[in-house]
């Protein structure tokens, strides 16, 4: 349970990090809070020669609102979001997701950028940020680029990140007034990785919405147009028209062969729909219940 030896460096700026990444020859891993990579190092499933610590880079530890979009630095922790130390544009949706990730000691160090880059299909941010329509901002030697989360996560533990690139921020668009957000995960034990996640971001007034079925074997199953789940239209009465058979067919189409698995995921999605309540205002909601 001890990692294989590695060297450790703390670049103090993004240019220094990118330069170091470009010149490194052996296996390199980037670390932020280390709550995903740490277990893999300790189990010696990953044996890098060099670990580059991102937490010394000031830019990655900031959060601000840019024209209605929340820009979270990659090293912002789950606890930072849970405690309301960052601004909010989602009516408390991010806060409620953050407060139920793993355990408080993990949330105090685990980061949103690290969790997304690790891309465990059962991790909360992979599904929640896909549903919220968030983008990942990536920096490399050639400059910066942005990818929607659904194109960033390419498979279980796989992301569209080049060898000399780093995730610098996550950009979360504001939930519009009247939008409904529902997020439910099913865990056998509090704090463990989810067995099923359902997330919906619906705009009954505009008649559109997204739905995501997460904690599947690969990347989350995204319905960028969720209308088929509600008999073809999304309006104020969406909750009463949730079509479990349509959801089941979508999962079957996505390759989920096991009927029991499909049943669990459809049930959890139905609960997310039932829990989807209109977001009152873009200010943070009451403190989440989890501890």
């Amino acid at each position: 349970m001890k990692p294989a030896p590695f060297a450790w460096e703390w670049p103090a700026s993004l240019p220094a990090l990118l330069a170091r990444l470009a010149e490194a020859t052996g296996p390199v891993k980037l670390i932020a809070g280390g709550q995903s990579l740490g277990p893999m190092l300790n189990l010696r499933l990953v044996e890098p020669d060099l670990v580059l610590d991102l937490t010394g880079i000031e830019e990655l530890r900031q959060a601000h609102i840019e024209g209605g979009t929340l820009v979270l630095g990659a090293c912002v922790t789950h606890a930072d979001i849970e405690d309301g130390r960052v601004p909010d544009v989602t009516g408390g949706a991010l806060q409620r997701v953050a407060s139920a990730i793993a355990y408080r000691p993990v949330r105090n160090r685990g980061t949103v950028g690290g969790s997304l880059t690790h891309a465990d299909p059962a991790a909360d941010w992979v599904t929640a940020l896909t549903a919220l329509g968030a983008e990942v901002e990536i920096a490399g030697a050639m400059g910066r680029r942005r990818l929607p989360v659904e194109r960033f996560v390419t498979g279980a533990l796989s992301v569209a990140l080049g060898p000399a690139e780093v995730v610098v921020a996550v950009r979360v668009p504001a939930l519009p007034e009247g939008a409904a957000w529902g997020y439910v995960k099913h865990c056998a034990k509090v704090g463990e990785f989810a067995h099923a996640i359902g997330a919906v971001r619906l705009e009954p007034q505009a008649g559109r919405g997204r739905a995501v079925i997460g904690a599947v074997e690969g990347p989350p199953v995204l319905l960028a147009d969720a209308r088929p789940l509600f008999g073809g239209r999304i309006d104020a009465g969406f909750a009463t028209r949730f079509d479990a058979l349509a959801a089941d067919a979508i999962l079957r189409e996505a390759g989920m062969a096991d009927a029991v698995e499909r049943h669990i995921h459809v049930t959890v999605l139905a609960r997310a729909v039932a829990a989807a309540a209109p977001v009152a205002s873009p200010t943070p909601a009451a403190r989440p219940e989890a501890a």
């Binding site: 001890k2 990692p3 030896p5 060297a7 450790w8 460096e9 703390w10 103090a12 220094a16 670390i31 932020a32 809070g33 280390g34 709550q35 740490g38 277990p39 893999m40 190092l41 300790n42 189990l43 010696r44 499933l45 990953v46 044996e47 670990v51 937490t55 010394g56 000031e58 990655l60 530890r61 630095g73 090293c75 922790t77 606890a79 930072d80 130390r85 793993a102 355990y103 408080r104 000691p105 993990v106 105090n108 160090r109 980061t111 690790h118 891309a119 299909p121 279980a156 533990l157 034990k189 509090v190 704090g191 990785f193 599947v216 074997e217 690969g218 403190r287 219940e289 989890a290 501890a291």
Partner: protein
Amino acid sequence: MSAALIEPRTTPTLALALTVNGRPVRVEAEPRSHLGDVLRDGLDLTGTHLGCEHGVCGACTVLLDGEPARACLTFAGACSGASVTTIEGLDGDAIAGELRAAFNREHALQCGYCTPGMMVAARDLVLRLPEADERRIRIGLAGNLCRCTGYAGIVRAVMAVIAERRGRGIPPETGAARALGPVGARTGEAITASPAPHAVAVAATAGPAFMAELGDAFEPAHEFTQSLDLAHPPAAVFAFFGDIEAVAACLPGAVLTARPSADTVEGGLQVRIGPIAATFRGRARITRDEAALTGSVHGAGSDAGGRSATEGRIRYRVSDGPEAGTSRLDLDVGYTLTGPLAQFGRPGLVRDLAGRIAADFSRNLDARLSGGAAPAPAGLNPLRLLLGLVRARFAAWLGRP
């Protein structure tokens, strides 16, 4: 001793400056040492207990810059300059004092192994929870495992302390102002430790191959099926499966090293799940039924050092495809995985990986049957594998890594 278990000769150490229980200390540590080992081995503070060492059990929970964190997931380099409070540092803490009395009263400990971490987590709940809500306390303690007393007494103790303090008019703390980012990590300090050229770890492929007996009574722990449609007639596909070298060339990450008998092969398979790369080396036995167009490959192997082991069986059946001249290949895969890879990997991740390997295999197979050159196997550099073996041999001759 397997070569992979020998540590490299030179490992750089960090001169770590910490404030531990209010006292500034300097301690030498390897970058890979986690804070739990630094505290226990470097500073003799053995009150911090180590259980699972992968963040699940909570026994090693300490305060890092005043906030609870897992010592086992905080590497030495990650907390340079931080302030650490261990259970030893809570002797004079008012909340910890009240918790100790309540734990005593409620019989909230027995063997005591989980207790230091439990106290740190409980103290955090006493500070943050607005009221003595049993459900929220149970959720808040879910990251600390107790295996003897159970949780009833612990929960009662924490409830009592919260109720008593709120009764005295002490309000909860609501997410005190602090810098964004992981607790314990400093910004803006260009620390340039690890100056020494880092040692090259012995390649993971260096361990001796584990030659398991391949019994007939194999009961796989996990099973799944996979079907591929191929634009080639069944006879051609089945004939292709008779050429094990050709099959291996199409299988990403596979390499054959020996063929001790007509129906047995030895070799390796490198698999990647995200950042995890494991190379299994071992032996496989092949059977074929020419009349039924079916066959099987039954293999077993382990990774370097024998830490993770797998046994698997693939049964294949070739039948007519939907159109003339095409075929359908049905694969029946069963496997058992043990060791750290199994501890980490959930069956779903392995199926996702298997799906991607099958897609590559199918593409390569199609190219091969269409008369194209065998594509370079992705994910494995055979040269590197050989280099790894050569390096290990040298290390063995010289008696050091």
